[in-house]
């Protein structure tokens, strides 16, 4: 059965290739992409699971062991060269809570640094969607990616990172999931969905299209298309990327874009702590002020609970006598 299928698909692919060459009338350029996926040391289980998910979604990726350094990131270029990769997806974990994602085109392409937020892996998201390991996704981009130059760069990088090239080594010839990239609130939101087709007439239409003449086939395809109902099921993972900087070189070179709106999580945390500290400071100052006020009013002596004062000592002595008797 599989042999038959293979022959069919082969025939189809050759056909499509011919078509492509005919239409483009140029050299049928294959987009070769290979992604090196690795992380720094100090990642948490969640980050590790994200890496796992991504590598399972990207058959053209190569997972490597953790990088030891966080400062000499240019070493990654050599590493990519070693593994024959022309894309690097590097995850840098800081303080065991913040995750930064570096995307780079090793020889001399640009580098983008993202801050990863709202990270949810497949493991913890109990989504019922599933897809073939190695099937090629459809990449859906928001129109707003074309509006600003830096977003254009981001889009191009993501196309090359997440788009599985045709004929990649472990890729499967079917399409059963969509990856959507949306710009909202200055961040890039990534989602992954499975494509569910209601099987009404779809297969029949396809077979008809193969067997019958072209016109008829088109017709049946059309009818098939109208009949099939497409719905989506989310697969996971979910993540939100905030672009921080874009460098011209690969892990080096001048910064050609910097996000003004980005606030480091360290700053946020510090602010939060300061705010809380301020509360305490105000309170303690109030306390001292109150004490001073009381002293000034000489209220301490008359207060039964308060220590000190002649009356108080007398009262204490009296009470002691009472209890001893």
């Amino acid at each position: 059965m599989s042999a038959v299928l293979k022959s069919v698909t082969d025939a189809r692919s050759t056909k499509s290739k011919e078509e492509a060459t005919d239409s483009s009338s140029g050299p049928d350029k294959k987009f070769r992409q290979r992604v090196l996926i690795l992380s720094s040391r100090g990642v948490t289980y969640r980050h590790r699971h994200l890496l796992q998910d991504l590598s399972s979604l990207l058959p053209h990726s190569r997972k490597d062991s953790k990088l030891d350094t966080k400062s000499k990131l240019f070493q990654l270029n050599e590493l990519a060269d070693l593994y024959n990769c022309n894309n690097i997806l590097f995850f840098e974990a800081r303080k065991r809570e913040d995750l930064y994602m570096w995307m780079s085109k090793p020889p001399n392409g640009p580098t983008i640094k993202f801050h990863v937020q709202n990270l949810h892996t497949m493991e913890e998201l109990h989504f019922s969607g599933n897809c073939l390991k190695g099937s090629r996704p459809i990449l859906s981009f928001d129109k707003s990616f074309e509006e600003k130059p830096y977003l254009m760069v981001v889009k191009e990088m993501m196309t090359q990172m997440f788009g599985v090239p045709k004929g990649a080594r472990k890729s499967k010839p079917f399409v059963d999931h969509v990856m959507s990239f949306t710009v909202a609130d200055g961040k890039v939101w990534i989602r992954c969905y499975q494509i569910c087709e209601a099987e009404v007439g779809k297969k029949d239409a396809k077979e008809n299209g193969d067997e019958e003449e072209e016109d008829a086939g088109k017709k049946s395809k059309k009818t098939g298309r109208s009949q099939t109902d497409i719905s989506l099921l989310e697969i996971g993972p979910r993540l939100v990327l905030t672009p921080i900087i874009i460098q011209e070189g690969s892990f080096g070179g001048p910064i050609i874009y910097e996000n003004k709106e980005y606030v480091s999580p360290n700053v946020l945390r510090a602010e939060y702590r300061n705010r809380r500290a301020q509360k305490f400071n105000v309170r303690s100052a109030q306390k001292v002020g109150r004490e001073i006020k009381k002293k000034a009013l000489r209220l301490d002596k008359h207060r039964v609970g308060g220590g000190g004062g002649k009356d108080w000592e007398e009262l204490q002595a009296g009470l002691k006598d009472l209890f001893q008797e």
Partner: protein, 418 residues
């Protein structure tokens, strides 16, 4: 205090606000000029204005100085002092005539103007005329200049207001970005088959009103992805590329069987939880309702019982009130009551013993106990009043004749009987 020192200080002071001083002076002159003009009009002097002004200035000044000096004394104090210091040390000049003061002022004016403004000096005559027109403007200017000065001084006083919040520099080098984009961009043209790149861009930017509203946000993403899936499918099918996985094509999935099993369990568990909670809710409702039913039933039962008791009471009364027997209802309860009353009545004598024959024989043949005194009365027999009827006493002792008629009962009793 040394004269030189004072002068120094004053000079320094003066150096700070030279133009203010100047303006004040100019203003003053202008004011004088105005008054002069008014006066001239009164005097109906038709001669040339400028000449008049120049010639009569001193005299007019003398006339008007009283008011002027009062008005301007505060303004001019510094100038006066200065002139005093410059001219002499005599303090009596304060009491000097105002003319002198004005003279000095004018001198001062000239001195101060010299280094600063050549124009003013060169055309003094025209200046005076100009000043009449420009008086208001100058005042405005002064105001305008005054305000920022004061502001500046205020700002100098509190340093925090001056701090500009530290701002990150935005780097957004468009040309460099475009260049780097061009360097890495895949050569995707319109003619490039879709199956090569699999990218779809939405026709309109996805707009999410509130990013923090999960439902709308996820819906926007979903619709975006769904549109892309539909488009992509159409394109791929049009190109003749394979899209759907055949049902008999098995391969490793992204999520393992184990993982999917977990998810299934989770879903099942959730469903079960939902079901259980729904059941529990129903049960609770039922319980509430059941309680009501039970209460109602109990109440009903109690009501029945009460009615029954009432009936019985009525019957008892009937029985107690009259001999009855005539209008007896066909109630089964009557019998029961009769039976009950029999049971409740005297025991012993009435108890059925052996049959009559046996009794006779027992008597005859001396069976069962003592025969002696058997006919004599004892405590029981003497206490027994069954045979006694008080009504019998009223009857004639012979027992025959009419049966005594039952007396008529009271009205309520009679009605109750019915």
């Amino acid at each position: 205090m040394g004269k030189a020192k004072l002068r120094q200080i004053l000079a320094a002071d003066k150096g700070k606000v030279p133009y203010l001083e100047k303006q004040k002076k100019l203003q003053k002159v202008a004011r004088k000029r105005k008054r002069l003009q008014d006066e001239k009009e009164e005097e109906e002097a038709d001669s040339d204005e400028e000449v008049e002004v120049k010639g009569s200035k001193m005299e007019v000044d003398g006339e008007w100085e009283d008011e002027d000096s009062e008005e301007d004394s505060e303004d001019d104090e510094r100038v006066i002092d200065m002139s005093k210091l410059e001219d002499s040390d005599s303090e009596s000049e304060d009491e000097d005539e105002d003319e002198d003061e004005d003279d000095e002022e004018e001198e001062e004016e000239e001195e101060t103007e010299k280094p600063r403004n050549g124009i003013l000096k060169s055309s003094k005559a025209t200046k005076t005329v100009d000043k009449d027109e420009g008086e208001d403007e100058e005042e405005d200017e002064e105001d305008e200049e005054d305000i920022p000065l004061s502001e500046i001084s205020e700002e100098d006083q509190d340093p925090e207001a001056d701090i500009i919040p530290r701002q990150k520099l935005t780097i957004d080098n468009h040309s460099a970005l475009q260049a780097s984009h061009a360097s890495i961009a895949l050569p995707i043209k319109k003619s490039t088959p879709f199956s090569l790149h699999h990218t779809i861009i939405t026709s309109t930017p996805v707009e999410i009103k509130d990013v923090h509203d999960d439902l709308t946000r996820e819906l926007a993403f979903y619709t975006q992805a769904l549109d892309a899936a539909k488009q992509g499918r159409a394109l791929l099918l049009a190109e003749g590329a394979s899209f759907t996985r055949p049902t008999d094509y098995f391969a490793e999935m992204v999520k393992s069987e184990e993982h999917m099993g977990k998810i299934k369990d989770k879903i099942k568990e959730e469903a079960a939880m939902k079901q259980a909670s729904a059941d529990a809710k129903r049960q609770r409702d039922l319980k509430k309702f059941g309680k009501q039913v039970q209460v109602a039933r109990l109440q009903e039962r109690q009501k029945e019982k009460r009615e029954m008791l009432d009936k019985i009471n009525v019957l008892k009364r009937k029985r107690a009130g009259a001999d009855l027997g005539d209008e007896n209802e066909g109630d089964p309860f009557d019998i029961a009551i009769e039976k009950a009353s029999k049971v409740n009545g005297r025991e012993g004598r009435d108890r059925k013993g052996p049959n009559a024959k046996r009794q006779k024989r027992n008597e005859k043949f001396g069976y069962g106990g003592k025969k002696k005194f058997s006919k004599s009365g004892d405590a029981v027999s003497s206490g027994d009043l069954t045979g006694f009827n008080s009504k019998g006493m009223k009857k004639n002792s012979f027992g025959s004749g009419k049966k005594a008629k039952a007396p008529r009962l009271g009205k309520s009793k009679r009605q109750a009987r019915r």
